[in-house]
């Protein structure tokens, strides 16, 4: 099993009365809440944490893209990833990802990802999300009715830009470029860097991932219990399509808090978890469903699903139930796994096997968790949990993992010592 360390980069100083005074953490969150001088420290802490996770031996460090968002300070994850490429050596760099339809022209993504792949020596995982409604349709003004078609076309263009050897003309429905010829080109060119698709639970996305042979990632904030139905649906669809059950076809996001004991974990992680599920997920529902964002096929499946659930009494994983903001419900609901190392090992093995997920993306920093606590959580997980879960799925080959240059062929990155230079 691959253990991947994911950062959302939440603003850590939203006020206690945020939910009362402000309608939304996303889209129209007020500028007065953002202190750039405090953000200077947050960014540097977050980047320290990502680098620390790499030092601790996680298989990958992961960043993602959000806009106008109080819990995601990375409008450009590529900026962070390029810095991480210089300050880490062997860890995969997972950009999860670039919302393709937001880039004009989309070849910008092909170029920037190729840069990161070159700088890092071929360690890039290229994530291509459609992007949330809040990011794409509201913050970035994209038309919800055209978004998916634009996304698929941008995907085709980026892939061709990576793989075609000669300059070509692209005459698409939304993009027209006379001369497509990106420089630089990715190191991973057999045929291109691994492509992973973060998505919701739509059958269309599952089928597309299977057809293209991409990794499907279910990045829910609500943990493995709520994610079980979705992942079971995914594997059922793979079986229908004649695909094997290689767990590395899938990725899954899970919050974790590990400490010496369960009580200590509760003491340490209650505040940051409640900050995240309370303040960070305080999103105005008016930004949730721009018409056309959800395909009619998915709407149909959703309405049918709701009807059958209503008929089969309560399913604890229904969206209505996903509102817990106090630690007891957060833990009971499986949003955050907590406990001693042994307890967390057991839970992680259960998550891996029950969901059949080979790429586990871990959120070990969340909400307003301090750098010290984050490093503690990260180190304890790396030392006491990781060695006891890595063996999972050892019989399967991960065909979707980066293939970097041999370490002996890669550039030596000199240590960064500003103090020394100043002293000279």
């Amino acid at each position: 099993m691959k253990l991947m360390w994911f950062h959302l980069m939440p603003y850590t100083e939203l006020p206690d009365d945020f939910n009362k005074k402000h309608p939304s953490v996303w889209v129209d969150i007020h500028s007065s809440l953002f202190d750039p001088r405090r953000a200077h420290h947050m960014y540097n802490d977050f980047m320290d944490e990502l680098e620390y996770a790499a030092e601790c031996g996680f298989d990958a460090i992961c960043v993602n893209e959000h806009h106008s968002n109080g819990y995601g300070l990375m409008p450009s994850p590529n900026l962070i990833a390029s810095s991480l490429a210089r300050r880490t050596t062997d860890t995969a760099i997972c950009v999860m990802g670039n919302s393709l339809a937001l880039y004009n022209p989309p070849t910008r993504v092909a170029e920037e990802f190729a840069m990161i792949d070159c700088i890092s020596g071929g360690r890039l995982i290229a994530g291509f999300p459609v992007g949330s409604p809040m990011d794409t349709c509201y913050a970035y003004g994209q038309n919800p009715s055209l978004l998916r078609d634009r996304y698929y076309e941008a995907h085709d263009l980026v892939k061709r830009a990576w793989t075609e050897k000669d300059t070509f003309a692209f005459s698409g429905r939304f993009n027209q470029q006379r001369y497509v010829n990106i420089w630089p080109r990715p190191i991973q060119n057999d045929p291109h860097p691994p492509i992973w698709i973060p998505g919701g639970g739509s059958i269309e996305t599952w089928r597309w991932c299977a057809e293209m042979d991409y990794v499907y990632c279910y990045l829910s904030y609500y943990g493995y219990k709520a994610g079980l139905t979705t992942m079971q649906g995914f594997w059922k669809e793979m079986e229908k399509l004649g695909k094997d059950r290689n767990p590395y076809r899938a990725g899954f996001l899970q919050f974790v808090g590990v400490a010496e004991s369960r009580q200590q974990a509760l003491d340490l992680y209650t505040e940051p978890a409640e900050y995240f599920y309370g303040r960070c997920l305080h999103v105005d529902p008016r930004f949730a469903l721009p018409p056309g964002y959800t395909t009619e096929g998915t709407q149909r499946a959703g309405i049918e699903g709701m009807m059958s659930k209503a008929a089969n009494v309560a399913n604890p994983a229904t969206k209505a139930a996903l509102k817990a903001t106090n630690m007891k419900d957060i833990v009971d609901g499986g949003y955050v796994l907590i406990g001693s190392p042994d307890e967390v090992i057991e839970q992680i093995r259960h998550v891996g096997t029950s969901l059949n997920v080979g790429h586990l993306m871990l959120l070990l920093q969340y909400g307003n968790m301090s750098k010290d606590t984050t490093k503690y959580n990260t180190r304890l997980f790396a030392e006491k949990v990781m060695p006891h879960v890595k063996d999972l799925f050892s019989g399967w080959e991960d065909k979707w993992w980066p293939k970097p240059m041999a370490s002996g062929q890669r550039a030596a990155v000199p240590a960064f010592r500003p103090q020394t230079v100043a002293a000279e």
Binding site: P144, S145, R173, D284, F287, P290, P291, G292
Partner: protein
């Protein structure tokens, strides 16, 4: 609607429903936000003295999935032109409301021979940063009815599933109508119509509900000021954005006076 004829016209390979009722000179109606999932009393008022012809716009109830092949504003305008022609409305009087109003204005501007007299009921197409329109696609569910109509019950009655409606397909069709409007007008409803208003030569009525919560009534003057033909502005009391649902009689009376 017992004596209403329902036919279809085909545009871009998709069929659009056309309702026809009444006698007298032809009068076309392009509906507003939400389209016409059912017949409404406003159409009966018009049909007393006119042959009312009501084509659905692509993606609206009765308009199927025709919106899915319309990528640009030009695609939309040409689709509406062909629907109007195939419905036999070229050269007739034309009423357009809300979303339909934006397209009625385009037809009158770009194909002046297609519209004899024009009536615009709170049309989309302009946007004023100093007096911004509401965002109809960023609303909590329980706010939509009050945004569309002065009397929310009028909107609720428009979109309520009729007896025997398919409980899965009906809500999808209602969402599709909103999607079609979004596809044409996202994000501001600004189609740069301002550049073409000066081409409108047809005598034009600009009608606004005094309680329009989507498009500020001040926009009426912007339309009137930009249109080249003779223009009259009328405000209807007690009417919201979809004034023809709130005050069917008053709106129909004002429209028919203009066309007479």
């Amino acid at each position: 609607m017992s004596d209403t004829a329902t036919t279809t016209v085909e545009v871009n390979g998709f069929s659009c429903r056309v309702w026809t009722k009444g006698n007298g000179p032809k009068l076309g109606f392009l509906a507003g936000f939400g389209g016409l999932p059912r017949w409404v009393p406003f159409l009966d008022e018009l049909a007393r003295t006119r042959t009312v012809i009501v084509p659905s716009l692509p993606g609206y109830p009765g308009g199927g999935l025709g919106h899915t092949v319309l990528d640009t504003h030009l695609d939309w305008v040409l689709a509406v032109r062909r629907i109007v022609e195939k419905a036999g409305l070229a050269g007739a009087d034309l009423v357009g409301a809300s979303v339909g109003g934006a397209f009625a204005a385009e037809l009158a501007a770009i194909f002046p021979g297609h519209v004899r007299k024009l009536a615009l009921i709170a049309p989309f197409g302009l946007f004023d940063e100093a007096d911004p329109a509401a965002d109809p696609w960023a609303q909590r569910k329980d706010h939509v009815a009050g945004l569309m109509c002065a009397d929310p019950a009028k909107w609720e009655a428009l979109v309520a599933p009729p007896e025997g409606a398919n409980s899965i397909e009906w809500p999808i069709e209602m969402t599709r109508a909103s999607e079609a409007a979004a596809r044409a007008l996202w994000p501001l409803g600004n189609t740069r119509l301002e550049k073409r208003l000066g081409l409108i030569e047809a005598p034009t009525l600009v009608l606004w509900g005094d309680r329009d919560a989507v498009l500020p009534p001040s926009y009426a003057q912007k339309f009137a000021g930009g249109i080249n033909g003779t223009t009259r502005v009328r405000t209807v009391a007690g009417a919201g954005h979809l004034a023809y649902l709130d005050q069917p009689e008053a709106v129909a009376r004002t429209v028919l006076e203009h066309f007479s």
